[in-house]
């Protein structure tokens, strides 16, 4: 296996709404024998709320520079953090003037373009590889899964690591674990509505509802996802959506790192499966 050590960028929700994603990411990499070194004193990537690209580049130059000093590529379980880190990386690498301007703010932002930022899903499927993963799996997931990719995995083109219209990295991983993919292709890459949650919750709720409802009609045992904002909308807010739209959904939503952890034989609590807002007990019963 080529990957043995990576810098880890947890992202802001990692000790709050998405703590199970953080827990399962750490547990899975440990089991796979990949050492994670947390980016020392990391700062927020700017999420979707910092609109000025130069401000995003400056914020992420600091995180990139810290990992670069360690000589490590950065891995993050959050799609938005990944997008911000890697687009900053690309912009800073390509533009000497920009790099000089950013470095001029403070020497802590002196980044020389020597590393890459990666999404956990990309590392699992493309760096570690399915064969290696398969050799370490000890459990089978008898689950029907709706794989939800959202934005930033297949777009925009320069940072994408999967197909924009029909991504399949998560599908492959789920099938490898013994899971069955339910018909879900129209929903896979539709935005969850998260960026409008605080300003147009009416739209955001409808969008999330569409995804949840499709998974339910398709007979899924759970939705698998790879971003804490999607987790916030589809899992943490699911009861609010049910109440606002007068529907009953009750669809478990888990992070792909949690599913992979189960297949690797890691204890459910260590993967934070008691932290997901919608109860995951029914899923656990189908792991054999």
């Amino acid at each position: 296996m080529s990957v043995t050590k990576l810098a880890y960028y947890p992202g802001c929700p990692s000790d709050a709404t998405a703590m199970e994603q953080d827990m399962s990411t750490k547990a899975v990499f440990e089991k796979l024998g990949v050492e994670l070194v947390e980016v020392e004193d990391w700062n927020c990537c700017g999420a979707a709320e910092v609109e000025d690209p130069e401000l995003v580049y400056a914020l992420n130059a600091r995180n990139l520079a810290i990992a670069e000093k360690e000589g490590l590529d950065i891995v993050t379980p959050c799609s938005i953090c990944y997008y911000n880190l890697e687009r900053s990386n690309i912009a800073l690498k390509a533009d000497d003037e920009l790099r000089a301007k950013v470095k001029g703010i403070d020497s802590a932002l002196d980044y020389n373009g020597k590393i890459k930022a990666k999404h956990v899903l990309d590392v699992f499927v493309n760096d570690i590889g399915l064969e290696e993963l398969s050799s370490k799996m000890s459990k089978k997931l008898n689950l029907k899964v709706a794989p939800y990719y959202g934005c930033y995995i297949g777009r925009p083109p320069e940072t994408a690591f999967d197909d924009p219209d029909d991504p399949d990295s998560m599908d492959k991983l789920i099938e490898l674990m013994g899971g069955e993919i339910v018909p879900f292709s129209q929903m896979k890459t539709l935005c969850c509505g998260g960026p409008l949650m605080m300003t147009r919750s009416d739209i955001a709720f409808e969008m999330a509802m569409k995804i949840l409802d499709t998974a339910k009609s398709a007979g899924a045992d759970c939705i698998a996802l790879a971003c804490p904002l999607c987790g916030m909308m589809l899992d943490c807010k699911q009861a609010d959506i049910e109440k606002a739209l007068h529907v009953e959904i009750d669809m478990p939503v888990v992070y792909i790192t949690q599913l992979l952890g189960l297949a690797l034989g890691i204890d459910a609590n260590e993967l934070g499966l008691n932290k997901n807002a919608v109860d995951t007990k029914d899923i656990l019963g189908k792991v054999v």
Partner: protein
């Protein structure tokens, strides 16, 4: 009706000088962006192709005060599908930043709470280096509602069930009441002073 005397021939350049707005004139008006946009199912007037057309024509005021600018999800679907690499998702961001500056200068009014939210978010980063949810909510709601009291009521309304749900899962303990701070706060301050919205 287009009133030619109200058109601003420099608007094109103004957008193209903003980061993200560079590819504006590459658009050949095919509508691929609009047809694939998830927002059109919810906001019938939403039309990124038309926003670009109006920008190319120089309809500065109409474009900048269009509330539809603020319901974009930044989901990048349009960017991924555009045959002309217009990078619409980024381009709309560039237009929003111009709109925001104009609103700050008192020249237009923005009919959306999104700029208030985005600013409140950025204030947390400038202060702590990481997102502090509680601080964000405490700034956003009162500003959106126009008074502290109304803001607190709106916040309670949105968060009482959610907060309890998260609390039960151990995701919103006493720790969440206080900000997680980056140690090197001086550098965060510098970043926002040099690059942030003035």
């Amino acid at each position: 009706m287009i009133k030619t005397w109200e058109l601003d021939p420099n608007f094109k350049e103004e957008i193209m000088n903003e980061r993200g707005g560079e590819h504006l004139t590459a658009c050949f008006q095919c509508s691929t962006c609009t047809l694939g946009c998830p927002i059109i199912d919810y906001v019938p007037s939403y039309n990124p192709r038309k926003i670009i057309q109006m920008s190319l024509l120089g309809m500065r005021k109409e474009v900048l005060s269009n509330p539809d600018l603020w319901v974009c999800l930044i989901c990048q679907t349009c960017t991924a599908r555009c045959p002309q690499d217009v990078r619409i998702s980024d381009l709309l961001g560039a237009i929003r930043r111009i709109a925001d500056k104009e609103a700050e200068a008192g020249n237009i009014k923005i009919d959306s709470s999104r700029p208030i939210f985005d600013k409140a978010f950025q204030h947390q980063l400038a202060k702590y280096g990481r997102l502090y949810d509680m601080g964000l909510a405490k700034e956003y709601y009162p500003k959106r509602e126009g008074s502290f009291f109304k803001g607190m009521m709106a916040m309670m309304n949105d968060y009482k069930d959610f907060g309890m749900r998260m609390f039960k899962k151990g995701k919103m303990g006493p720790k969440a009441m206080f900000p997680e701070k980056v140690k090197d706060l001086a550098v965060m301050k510098k970043i926002f002073e040099e690059m942030g919205e003035k």
